[in-house]
């Protein structure tokens, strides 16, 4: 009857979803995304305005003149960008070695790459602080040369590089593996040298993956806390990162100050990730 009516009235008949359980799946996805990601973020974003818009703005104006917050943000974002950038070259080389060459122990290296994912970040921080500290294996000879890594911004970048490296390798390797061999052969037959194949064919094909990899390492670097605080020295205005300042503010019962920093971290991270995805889409235009 209803089918007849809808046909009579020219209504589209209710079509069955092409995927079984699509509605249920979508509902569950949105529910988990909401409770796990959006709700906490929303709480964080709304917190500064809880005592009225005026008070919120005032707090922001206050924070904008707080040199300690500004420099902590600067240290966090600056180090994350540098670490992600410096990770690109070794990351691509390791991915290349894992995919293209048949070096002995390839599987073990493959496993080691993921270790930074699994290690407690505090362990990483303490280990690096010991190694690069003034009396450490690397730290002592470097200190004699006048290079200080531990308890400086260099140390922060180094720790973030360690944490970010697997993101680069794991993002680039599959793209490299799926790069059809005949494309490189075609270039060679057309007269391209090895270097030309690499620079004009392989690397451009990797560009979108490189941007994604950079974005992931960068995002991880902004949020990294455990490994950095052990090697950074945590001097305010110099080597204090924003996540640490959040903890410090909380310990001082300054919830507003802590959420304020959190708010800025979330906002800038979102903006940078959006920017990165924009760049990636522009780059992958040809690859479609």
């Amino acid at each position: 009857m209803t089918a007849y009516l809808s046909r009579r009235l020219g209504l589209p008949r209710r079509q069955r979803d092409p995927l079984p359980g699509f509605g249920l799946g979508l509902g569950l996805t949105l529910f988990w995304l909401g409770t796990l990601v959006l709700l906490p973020l929303l709480a964080l974003v709304s917190r500064p305005w809880q005592e009225g818009l005026h008070r919120g703005l005032l707090a922001f104006a206050h924070a904008a003149h707080d040199g300690r917050i500004l420099s902590a943000l600067w240290v966090s974002f600056g180090s994350a960008v540098l670490a992600a950038l410096f990770d690109l070259v070794p990351g691509v080389l390791i991915a290349w070695a894992l995919v293209r060459s048949d070096i002995p122990g390839r599987r073990i290296i493959d496993m080691l790459v993921e270790l930074p994912f699994a290690l407690p970040t505090a362990v990483v921080g303490i280990t690096m602080a010991t190694l690069y500290g003034p009396t450490g294996w690397f730290g002592a000879p470097l200190a004699r040369l006048g290079v200080h890594i531990a308890y400086s911004r260099t140390g922060i970048v180094l720790a973030l590089m360690f944490i970010g490296l697997p993101f680069i390798v794991r993002t680039v390797a599959p793209v490299l593996r799926n790069l059809p061999a005949d494309v490189e052969e075609a270039a060679a037959i057309l007269g391209a040298s090895r270097a030309q194949v690499l620079l004009r064919i392989v690397l451009p094909a990797l560009h979108p993956a490189l941007v994604t990899a950079f974005g992931m390492a960068f995002a991880r670097g902004i949020g990294e806390y455990g490994s950095v605080i052990f090697i950074a020295g945590n001097q305010p205005f110099h080597t204090e990162i924003a996540p640490l300042l959040v903890v410090i503010r909380l310990q001082e019962y300054d919830t507003t100050g802590a959420t304020l920093i959190g708010f800025v971290l979330v906002a800038v991270s979102l903006l940078s990730l959006a920017g990165i995805s924009l760049v990636r889409r522009r780059l992958s235009r040809g690859v479609g």
Binding site: V183, A186, I189, A192, G286
Partner: protein
């Protein structure tokens, strides 16, 4: 330019099985040669050896009388078209085509304007005008294949190698590109070697067909030569529809295992043998047996019948169709005459050329045709 292969052997990197096994081949200047064979016959490997993409363990490759074994792929100036196009996805069509010119060292590189002109010229030749600014993923399969061809021709190679270039295209586009490729070959005076597993495609395009199987060249010749004189049962099987009928030879008579097939006289020692025959060479003899032939379909001047008897089912037999479209729809009590086939024993021709007795067409069959 001629291509000359002298006893080429290539072993697989793992295991050492011979992928290409002692192949010698001479491709004349300006000829269109097709390498045909089933999957794994070594056709593509041979093509890759000529291009310098794969190494070979024994033998010599000469192009235009000059040994090229020690030259890498980039120094041979050969045009190569890959099965899956292998276009550079991040470059425009124009950049793809111009790539071979743009990467030359400074002293031999044409100017930007010259490259642009050459690209325009090739786009025109490939019937792809105004496609230069597009990206490969925006093109159809046939267009991509033509871009790949234009790219291969941009540096002006005299030898063009095509590795199953039509494999991924739909039949209509295939046929169009085929005809057009043949024109191109003649116009540019290229020496073309095409790899395909499609014997019809090979026969249509090439002046020389080389049939390969298990890494070896089984036979080469014009399509007509292969059709008239297949070197062995494999070639006959491969180069057209073939029916195999097994039987026993006793006292100079081949008696098929299946009933309703007329025995064939043959000068052969007693024992098992087979007859290989094309459907078009099988004759239907009415009033001689218990088989039933049912009209199946008509294609142009050929009508095919499905013949069924107690011992076989649905054997397809072709015969000239009645022009007045009065082909009988069913013929009962008929038998099958396979005397036009070739005898095979131990997978080789027993008698080179035809069997002892030529095709016998009885009066009754004549009546069928008229």
């Amino acid at each position: 330019m001629s291509v000359y292969l002298d006893h080429i052997t290539r072993h697989s990197p793992q295991g050492g099985r011979a992928i290409v096994d002692d192949v010698s081949l001479s491709v004349k200047d300006g000829s269109f040669t097709a390498l045909v064979g089933p999957s794994g016959a070594g056709k593509t490997s041979l093509l890759r050896i000529i291009a310098g993409l794969d190494p070979h363990q024994r033998g010599q490759v000469s192009i235009d009388g000059r040994r090229v074994d020690t030259l890498g792929a980039r120094e041979r100036n050969i045009g190569f078209v890959f099965q899956h196009y292998a276009l550079f996805a991040h470059m425009t069509v124009a950049a793809n085509i111009g790539f071979g010119l743009a990467i030359r060292p400074r002293h031999s590189r044409p100017g930007r304007a010259a490259i642009r002109r050459r690209v325009e010229e090739l786009l025109e030749l490939m019937q792809l005008p105004a496609m230069g600014a597009r990206y490969p993923h925006e093109l159809s399969g046939g267009q991509r294949q033509r871009v790949a061809l234009a790219r291969a021709l941009a540096t002006g190679p005299r030898v063009l190698l095509l590795d199953e270039p039509f494999g991924a295209l739909d039949p209509l586009v295939r046929r169009q590109i085929r005809g057009w490729l043949h024109n191109l070959h003649e116009r540019l005076g290229l020496t073309t070697i095409l790899v395909t597993h499609d014997r019809q495609e090979a026969a249509e395009l090439a002046d020389t067909v080389v049939i390969m199987n298990r890494g070896r060249v089984v036979q080469s010749g014009t399509p007509q030569e292969l059709e008239d004189n297949p070197a062995d049962p494999f070639v006959m099987d491969f180069s057209g529809e073939t029916i195999r009928i097994a039987g026993l030879v006793t006292n100079g008579r081949f008696v098929p295992d299946m009933s309703d097939i007329i025995p064939v006289p043959v000068a052969l020692s007693n024992g098992r043998a087979e007859i290989l025959i094309r459907p078009a060479d099988i004759r239907l003899l009415p009033h001689q047996g218990n088989a039933i032939a049912q009209f199946y379909q008509r294609r142009g001047l050929v009508a095919s019948y499905k013949v069924t008897s107690a011992s076989f089912d649905g054997m397809l037999v072709e015969m000239p169709a009645d022009p007045g479209d009065v082909s009988a729809s069913i013929i009962t009590h008929c038998a099958i005459d396979i005397s036009a086939g070739r005898f095979v024993r131990d997978n080789a021709w027993v008698i080179p050329g035809y069997g002892l007795v030529g095709p016998v067409i009885s009066d009754e069959v004549q009546f069928l045709y008229s």
